[in-house]
Symmetry: C2
Subunit: 103 residues, 2 copies
DNA sequence: CTAACAGTTCAATATTCCCGAACTATTAAA
DNA sequence: TTTAATAGTTCGGGAATATTGAACTGTTAG
């Protein structure tokens, strides 16, 4: 049974956060999550051509960067943006990224 | 003679810019360049343990991301931040990064 | 000239990323 | 109940990237 670990935002270094965002697919997912309240893993996918193992890895990375929270609900995993926490840790960063994200 | 190519900022995708910033050494260099008007390559180095070929590659990457401009002056290369242009292309991004950069 | 300097380029190694295959867990259907 | 389908994770090996020592280019100081 998958149990996810979510870092405290204080433990997330800036370069890790930037690295998590520095990918078109992950940017797409973050944009979707920002526009929606919560999404399943496949629901967060930026397109349907991306393999699910890859998708899973992207989400793991976003989790490790403190960007999303994942909890199990039935057989789905529900992902949500940790927006308030992330914004407090890195003020203005996510806003700037989302404002420029044309994906 | 090394002649550098600098992209138009319009041609720099967001994920490339983020990728360029998503590294502690490059963040250190950008912070230095933001604090100083111009720096040689070795002068921009975040520490002196980093090999110069690595340093050269980091600077090439920052150049490709539209973050810095490099021109030759004698036998040195003078690097400057393309701050105004970058800010116009990605409003608030560099500010957010520099504000959170503790390196 | 010659030597030293500032940095680039190249190529080999090390690291990271991607994705198919196999797996776990949960629920819907028969 | 089983059985099958769904939703996702994990693992491993090949592909792609990054790092860095060595050799090189171009510039200036002596």
């Amino acid at each position: 049974m998958p149990r996810f670990t979510h870092p405290r935002l204080d433990d997330v270094p800036l370069d890790l956060a930037l690295h998590a965002l520095a990918d078109p697919n992950r940017l797409g997912m973050i944009a979707r999550l920002a526009a929606t309240q919560q999404l399943s893993c496949t629901g967060a996918a930026p397109c349907d051509s991306i393999p699910k193992s890859t998708l899973s890895n992207h989400l793991k990375l976003l989790r490790a960067a403190g960007l999303i929270e994942t909890k199990q609900a039935g057989r789905e995993m529900i992902n949500t943006l940790r927006r308030a926490e992330f914004d407090q840790r890195f003020p203005g960063l996510l806003d700037a990224v989302l404002a420029n994200n044309l994906y």
